[in-house]
């Protein structure tokens, strides 16, 4: 019933999502380094 008689914030979770994306990009550096760690084939 939300939205018609009560206020429903559609973008409430946008903040957390941006944080997650940040974390992903940072993690990508380590993942890339991880792949380069051993002598590449």
């Amino acid at each position: 019933m939300e939205g018609l008689f009560t206020y429903y914030d559609m973008f409430a979770t946008k903040g957390v999502e941006y944080l997650i994306i940040l974390v992903f990009l940072i993690s990508f550096i380590f993942v890339w380094k991880y792949f380069e760690r051993k002598a590449p084939y």
């Binding site: 409430a12 979770t13 957390v16 999502e17 997650i20 994306i21 974390v23 992903f24 993690s27 990508f28 993942v31 991880y34 792949f35 760690r37 051993k38 084939y41």
Partner: protein, 417 residues
Amino acid sequence: MEEKTVLEIKEPEIKSFSDFWKFFKEELKPKGKIFTPFNVITFPIMIVGYICILIRLIKGLGYPVTNLSQEFPWGLWIGFDVVTGVAFAGGGYVLAFIVYILRDERFYPILRPTILNAFLAYVFYAGAIVLDIGRWWNIYNPMVGNYFGYNSVMFLVAWHFFLYMLAAFIEISPAIAEWLGLRRIRKILGTLTLGAVIFGVALSTLHQSGLGALMMMAKNKIHPLWYTEFIPILYFISSIFAGLSLVIFEGSISHKVFEWQIPEEYHKAYPGIVFSLAKICALVMWGYLFIKLIVLVHDRSYPYLNSTMGFWYLIEVIGFVLIPAILYAEGYTRKSLLIIKCASILTLIGIIINRLNYTFIAYNWFVPLAKKYWPTPIELLITASIVLTEIWVFRWIVNRMPIVRPAPAWARKLESH
């Protein structure tokens, strides 16, 4: 190891249709031994499967044939054959994209088998949809006649199946031309492949995500953990690493089976290919996990995690995406084919579970146990026979056409890439 049979390729002189027919009949005869263990096991299953298909056509989709009910309109055939089969065939467009668009020549040796696999998968698995269609005599309605239901996702998916079969056929047709030795046609087909690839990749992105969009309108039936607005995106990305995992898994088998066809330098290059594929898979899965996390947060469905369905969701996400991703990464860094093979098997099972979740496990999850769906023997038999027929046809083609072995000299010159 039995002694390597000599690689004799004799090119037929095909001038007229009769030559072709004569040559074709002669090629129909099986090559190599007949009573191998694989043949002995699979042949009876296929025969029984075909009988079941007949039963299905006569008796319709009632209980003894399938366990479908009003609560579960889609069962194993759509869930496994069509949706998972097409996801596995995703390797075709990914490799075509890498080889033809990113011009990365390293993957050339496994390009042709993957495309053949994709083409056959579409023909057989997507073909299975005809079995699941209740009024199959109207199957041509969306294609021909004036019943174009352009408002429906299924319309898009149906047309794309048809078009992608064409695109894949054009991509594989050079091999057929080489088999028949038709030089001029081979030249023309060579020019078409780039167009077919670009059209194929565009088509594939759409209907891989389209299969997800089919479930978009079951909002109140699918468990909130699985239902999101981004199902198409999840389906598309999971089809990338699903396809690649199948390429790795099937590659390892076909390398053993078609050992005698593969030249030395392809053999040496094979591990390198597999490792780079594993790397791509690991990265894509890593991205997929984060998308799942974002979707979980976006739909605020994380409180459902501590319920029984939550437990099953975690098995699917952690057990079948995170762990295989780690295994792929480990396999890449440790350079061990075995770990990568295990990871690919796990991902394949993961994709099957994910697709079946959407079709009948997390679908109508609140229905009591008595009404729940589980596949009947006939359904399993028919699915198995379709898969096995596809493998048999694959083997027939690979034994004859230059799929696994390099193209004949004159054809290689044509490759102006």
